[in-house]
Amino acid sequence: MVDNFDASKPIYKQIADQFYWKIIRGDLQAGDKLPSVRDTAVAFRVNPNTVSRTYNEMERANVVETKRGLGTFVTEKQDVLNDLKGKKMRQQIEQFVTEMEAMGYTAAEMVNGLKNHLGKERGEND
């Protein structure tokens, strides 16, 4: 079961990442209600205390809001959601660039490589 998680990162952060992913994709939209802590714990097969930490962390990041007695909801503040989207993209790009640089690729090669790849993926030949 622990195989579902990266052993070197706290589980509460990995679950937060999965929620962020769903929000960015639009599977969870502004104002949507998150499952209860217990239901999320069962779904991920982790301790409910871990999920509470996830929800607290997302709340500190202003991405979700807890309404007393009602549950936890994705924020309706569009600027926060846009920030989240931008931040995740920068993280992915940083990781890609760091690895490419470590292998010795130049900036031009990376840009060309990306253009080529995106072109092929979309079936464009021009």
């Binding site: 079961m1 217990r38 097969r45 205390n49």
Partner: protein, 230 residues
């Protein structure tokens, strides 16, 4: 809260526990891990008031542990201790008659979740279903402290899975203090708040499971190996 102060246990020629001093806060799930014969079960029995320590003191919620501590502590033994002529529901009735904190509603919910038929005779239950019934009887108590000795041991993956899920679903981790001994460290790791490592009756270490992963970048099982090598 569980407080052990310089607890030791000697059996005739063998010392099972040496000078264990340990405090566990209220709430959360703690894994007690270590190799066979390390003293895990003895420690659990002392907490359950089933074994008297040779030295030291043990308090659970400020009460000294003795046989009467069973009112505060739900203990799940490694062994099967059912009357084989009972039906599942008789066993539930018996447990309810013994413990005022037994919740029939939780027991019914758990029997449904575990797909156990209240009218089955215990002697015809499979080993896996007997394992499930034991979990129902222990977790249906709203006891402040729950002690489980090797709840997954010898059971197949389906049964182990249903037991782990029932721990997540039915334990109130904010209020109930749960201590579980296990060999299945990888399987149980995601449900532990913290782990305690023991070896040859001595306490090696205690750590927050998320900190082991986050600060040391290790799995709990690797942490345990490291504790054993120190």
């Amino acid at each position: 809260m569980i407080e052990l102060n310089q607890v030791g246990k000697r059996y005739l020629a063998k010392t099972a526990l040496h000078d264990i001093t340990l405090t566990l806060p209220q709430g959360g799930i703690t894994g007690l891990i270590g190799e066979n014969g390390s003293g895990k079960s003895t420690l659990l029995k002392i907490l359950a008031g089933l074994v008297k320590p040779s030295t030291g003191t043990v308090f659970i919620n400020e009460k000294k542990t003795e046989r009467q501590i069973a009112a505060d502590v739900a203990y799940l033994s490694e062994l099967d201790t059912f009357y084989s002529f009972y039906k599942v529901k008789d066993m539930v009735d018996f447990q309810a008659s013994q413990f005022p904190d037994f919740s029939r509603k939780r027991a019914d919910d758990m029997l449904t979740f575990m797909k156990l038929d209240p009218n089955s005779k215990i002697k015809v239950l499979s080993k896996g279903n007997r394992g499930r019934l034991k979990i129902v009887l222990a977790l249906a108590r709203e006891a402040p402290v729950i002690l489980m000795d090797e709840p997954l041991s010898g059971l197949d993956p389906m049964v182990r899975d249903s037991i782990v899920t029932s721990l997540i679903s039915f334990v109130d981790v904010e209020k109930q203090t749960v201590l579980i001994t296990t060999h299945e460290v990888n399987e149980m790791e995601p449900i532990f708040d913290r782990v305690v490592a023991i070896r040859e009756g001595r306490l090696l270490g205690i750590a927050d499971a998320e900190k082991i992963r986050g600060e040391q970048g290790m799995r709990v099982v690797d942490w345990l190996k490291e504790q054993y090598q120190l």
